[in-house]
């Protein structure tokens, strides 16, 4: 061809053979192989990490049942947690974890949704300039600091108001509420923002008020997103360790009411793991608690997926 090409020397010699020229591997082809290699490797590392984590925790967690022959029902429904004496009923911790998680989610959701509505519908300007940073800051506060404040403020406050030691489910709920609030809020904001603008316009054009538009159109079509947000918040609450451990009282007994001390899977885990011997029942029992945590996070994940699917279907059908 008449045009002067600037390709690699190798190809220059065959520049009249178009077939060869167009079939030959070039620098770009090689770059692509390399790029593929690098990125596949990286994703491979992540998969390896996840797989080995699942494997380790599962194999340690089931040892309680396979090696120590504790029955699964006893573990899940027993209420006596004294691994040193061979009693490992995990129900108090399971109940404790669920109690604080649900309580925190129930308290936090209205606050989160309200704030999100404010940020997207009522005052988007203030939302972006003032609340966005506020929310991001709340996310950024480390959980030890939440624990520290819980210990210094919430626990004495609860002791004062409701009596008892102040340690307990209600204090943990309060601390967790503040901790999951930003998570739920920022995800709710995302899902509200994702509602197509024309939904809103359609409703407004029909003469609906702002609140009618928000409650019947926007919230409705953002429901899957909000549910996802709440579940993420619950997942965070379920897995939170230090802040809860510092305020819940760590009593491995079935919680009788909201002010009685209780313990969660995570708090029992952090409290006990250092004092047990690898391979013994008390140690294995703790890993079984970790296994429950793992399974729960898998469960939360699956739930999010189901909701996302449902939401999609609703939009497609």
């Amino acid at each position: 061809m008449e045009q002067t090409n600037f390709q690699l020397k190798k190809q220059k010699s065959q520049s009249n053979d178009w077939s060869a020229r167009l079939h030959h591997a070039t620098r770009a082809t090689r770059e692509d192989w390399m790029g593929k290699g690098i990125s596949y490797l990286c994703i491979g590392v992540i998969i390896l990490v996840v797989a080995s984590m699942l494997w380790f925790i599962t194999s340690k967690g089931v040892a309680t049942f396979t090696q120590n022959h504790v029955s699964l029902t006893k573990f899940l429904f027993g209420t006596n947690w004294a691994p040193d004496q061979g009693h490992i009923g995990a129900l108090p911790m399971i109940v404790g974890s669920f109690a604080v998680t649900f309580a925190a989610a129930i308290v936090a959701t209205p606050f989160a949704v309200g704030t999100a509505i404010f940020m997207t519908e009522i005052s988007p300007n203030k939302g972006r300039k003032l609340l966005q940073p506020v929310i991001e800051l709340l996310v950024g506060i480390p959980s030890v600091v939440y624990g520290f404040i819980g210990l210094a403020v919430v626990v004495p406050f609860m002791r004062h108001v409701v009596g008892g030691s102040g340690f307990g489910i209600i204090s943990a709920t309060f601390v967790l509420f503040v901790m999951v609030l930003p998570t739920i809020t920022s995800m709710t904001v995302d899902s509200l923002r994702a509602v197509p603008r024309h939904f809103k316009e359609a409703s407004l054009a029909l003469g609906a008020t702002r609140w009618q538009t928000v409650s019947r159109v926007i919230l409705r079509s953002a429901t899957p997103g909000i549910l996802t947000a709440v579940i993420f918040g619950m997942a965070r609450a379920f897995g939170e360790a230090l802040a809860v451990q510092m305020v819940i009282g760590n009593a491995a007994i079935m919680p009788k009411n909201l002010i009685s001390p209780a313990s969660t899977l995570t708090s029992q885990l952090t409290t006990g793991i250092g004092d047990t011997i690898d391979g013994t029942l008390p140690n294995n029992a703790l890993w079984s608690l970790a296994l429950i945590l793992l399974l729960m996070s898998l469960f939360f994940n699956a739930l999010v997926r189901v909701i996302a699917k449902r939401g999609q279907l609703k939009h497609e059908r």
Binding site: H198, A202, A205, R317
Partner: protein, 267 residues
């Protein structure tokens, strides 16, 4: 190469006392912040007719149209007067929700709610206090018939509106608007996202609807304007340049800029 047209040379018709008008704007100006998007629009819209707004992209058609039912509130600054039943509805004291009930709007992209077909229509009615079941059902049928959609959907009113085709969705949006029994219907390029078959159906619907409503339609498609409208306003860079009966506009445009635009040799 590109001709500069003078904004002074315009040809905007007015109507005599006898013509009964649906709406009228005086001196309407719209600003997006510092961007002066609409200059001094003085247009009057006769009752029970279709008026088309045409012009190049960005010429301000949507901007103008959205001002008519205050959809620009909070987005743009709108000055001037918008007369509707002898009330200047551009005043802040006016109840915008009432205005929008009387002046309905249909958008460029069909935007049904992610609800059933029935719910799409019933939603706003219920929000406005209509609770009677029988009456609601009646309205659903009437408006769907009005939008020429009834026959196609009467057996599937509980299906999601999102399962309809684009053209059906757009007619549903029209049905949703007319269910509110408005006076005026504003349509912003209602066919631009539709295939030719659906376009024809919507156009037929509009021609039918003008018997009951006054319609103002923005369109990019001059053929469409020619087919449906009685008069036609040509927008250019935020100015209304010509407003004449559609026949006149297409066969005998009054000023150079319109002539060039109609001839397609614009620019």
């Amino acid at each position: 190469m590109l001709k500069q047209y003078s904004f002074e040379e315009t040809a905007v018709q007015t109507f005599d006392e006898k013509t009964s008008l649906a709406m009228k704007t005086e001196n309407l100006q719209v600003f997006y912040g510092a961007n002066h998007a609409m200059h001094d629009a003085d247009l009057a819209f006769p009752k029970n007719q279709i008026t088309a707004l045409i012009g190049a992209s960005g010429s301000g058609k949507s901007t103008y149209l959205r001002s008519l039912n205050r959809m620009n509130d909070g987005i743009a600054t709108v000055t001037g007067k918008i007369w509707y039943h002898n009330v200047d509805i551009n005043e802040p004291t006016v109840n915008i929700y009432e205005i929008r009930r009387h002046i309905g709007m249909v958008f460029q992209r069909p935007n049904p709610f992610a609800k059933s077909i029935r719910e799409n229509i019933v939603y706003a009615l219920r929000a406005n206090g209509l609770k009677n079941k029988a009456e609601l059902e009646e309205r659903v049928e009437k408006s769907l018939r009005g939008a020429a959609l009834w026959d196609e959907v009467k057996d599937s009113l509980d299906k999601s509106a999102l399962s309809l085709s684009g053209g059906q969705q757009q007619r549903l949006c029209i049905a949703r608007s007319i269910a509110m029994e408005p006076d005026v219907l504003l349509l912003d390029e209602p066919c631009s996202a539709l295939d030719p078959i659906s376009t024809v159906k919507v156009e037929e619907t509009l021609l039918e609807l003008q018997k009951k409503y006054s319609i103002i339609i923005v369109t990019h498609n001059m053929q469409q304007a020619a087919r449906v409208s009685s008069q036609c306003a040509f927008f250019h860079l935020g100015h209304v340049m010509e407003y004449t009966p559609t026949g006149t506009m297409f066969s005998n445009p009054q000023i150079p800029v319109t002539q060039d635009y109609i001839a397609g040799s614009f620019g």
